[in-house]
Assembly symmetry: C2
Homo-oligomer: 317 residues x 2
């Protein structure tokens, strides 16, 4: 089997690569990544001849080789990153998907990591997959939200008109080891701030909630849905932790871990979602027995340890 993973040097992508390489049926695992937000270091620990890395934009990818399975993860996922380069965000998601569909073997599987951001600022909680969302398509977060939505449309419409072995997940606030220190999202921000001895910055009053999914739990779910289990359902499928926690609680928890750092408030960005929590009814049915077992208190500790090592290494390096 030849598999391709776009964004394989990224936070989630690199964990998927680890899991793929445990499979004995794979002869080629091609990572396509332009290192925009991904980092080669995330795959540095792998010593496996089947892994090939092409440093390039997925939106111009072409190949004579056709792939049995394609995992399309190439996209920035943190607001400061995608808001700085909205055009490129749309191109990596949507044009990336178009280019990758062109190199999928007939009958091959196409998996796409969409996002809970397709729900925008939801008026329904928890959010089931059938909820159509509240996204302002002209707003400053729209390049990410709309490029994910439009890529979902492309894939489900391809399924409807031509047939496609499709797997679409909507991921909810994933965190953990291999997040960039300068990622810009809450958990990693709080940790890097705390490690640097700085105050923790919360946007607004911190009452906005998120459902924090620890990377190992999330990748367990992805692995089962993408290739381990025999599943016919093409998606969309919510994958996340359904314990909803206000951002301020996480900030306080991390501040306390470091003996009491100060927490300061910054103005809340436009269109920042007020709440976010997956309805996991469908996930429980499709992936029986799967659940997020790492509470944020534990996941945060593991992430702190990883960042501590990482920052030591980067000082040495």
């Amino acid at each position: 089997m030849k598999v391709l993973i776009s964004g394989g040097c990224g936070f989630i992508g690199s964990h998927i690569v680890d899991r793929l390489l445990k499979r004995s049926d794979i002869e080629l695992c091609l990572v396509v990544d332009n290192l925009w937000t991904g980092r080669k270091d995330n795959l540095h620990h792998i010593n496996d001849d089947r892994l090939k890395i092409e440093i390039r934009d997925v939106e111009t990818f072409a190949s004579d080789v056709l792939f049995d399975e394609i995992y399309h993860l190439a996209s920035p996922a943190s607001p400061p990153w995608y808001m700085a380069e909205p055009r490129r965000t749309i191109e990596s998601n949507l044009i990336g998907a178009l280019r990758l569909l062109d190199v999928l073997k007939p009958g091959g599987r196409f998996a796409f990591t969409s996002t809970s951001e397709v729900y925008g600022d939801p008026r329904v909680s928890p959010q089931p997959e059938s909820y159509v969302g509240m996204v302002d398509c002209t707003g400053p977060r729209s390049s990410y939200d709309e490029s994910k939505r439009c890529t979902e449309s492309l894939l489900f419409e391809t399924l409807r008109t031509k047939g496609l072995d499709l797997r679409v997940v909507r991921l909810f606030n994933v965190y953990g080891p291999r997040t960039r220190p300068d990622d810009g999202r809450a958990v990693s921000n709080f940790i890097t701030q705390a490690l640097a001895g700085k105050p923790l910055t919360v946007f607004g009053d911190g009452s906005q909630t998120r459902s924090w999914g620890y990377i190992d739990d999330i990748v367990d779910g992805l692995e089962r849905y993408f290739w381990l289990d025999k599943i016919e359902y093409p998606g969309p499928l919510n994958i996340g932790n359904d314990r909803e926690v206000p951002v301020l609680d996480v900030a306080k928890y991390i501040a306390n871990l470091f003996g009491g750092r100060m927490i300061i408030q910054h103005p809340i960005p436009i269109n920042d979602p007020t709440n976010r929590r997956p309805d996991l009814t469908l996930a429980n049915k499709i992936l029986p027995g799967w659940s997020c077992s790492v509470p944020y208190e534990e996941g945060v500790k593991r992430t702190v340890e990883w960042f501590r090592e990482e920052m030591k290494l980067s000082k040495v390096g």
Copy 2:
């Protein structure tokens, strides 16, 4: 001034070309159209050396010439057409916009015809521009809705990050002369069915409402917003007729015009919007004095006359 209009052989596009050529400051009016739903006949009446037509896909368009004004209208607009080729629909809208941004002169104007379909099946009536919509991004109408939404995002995000002289309109159910006989939307369907002596087909019970805008009224608004008036507002701007009429009423009116044709019901398609009506508060402020003056009873008569002539010609030809 050099201007480019994608989709210039189409129903609305060809009317825009007529108006553009009334301007004396234009030296080149380049139409880019692949004749997917456009027809060369729509520009057949024009005898003007400034008009050039390139028959090609806008999504692969490139040029050394940069344009002062670009009007991006290339897209199918009727469900049977875009539902049959969803990928191409996304490409013409979104990749078309990317290609056209690349040939816009710095400081040039970019105008885009978005759609009331960005509101999906609205829960608010009438729909103001601030309403974020109810679109199922996995549904069978999504290629059109989401490619328009994502193109809006691309343009407003380009405005936010780089600056752009932008004009985005959201059009509501336009009808009139130069609609394709096989267009597939209600008014033209009813008329071609009636002219052919067939029963008129209504989807569902016909209680779903639309706001029918006659082409001349709509193009009056576009002309003012796109180039005549001095306006700073980049959009989105609703352009349409705010008289809301059930589909069945239009069918009955046309059936009666032909001495009483039969009306039969077909099953209603998935995600067919139940209602659609523009909130014109902003349009009245931005374009004072503009309004839709042709009621559907009159517009339909004019359209019947045009179709009658058209079908005579096509029989002769």
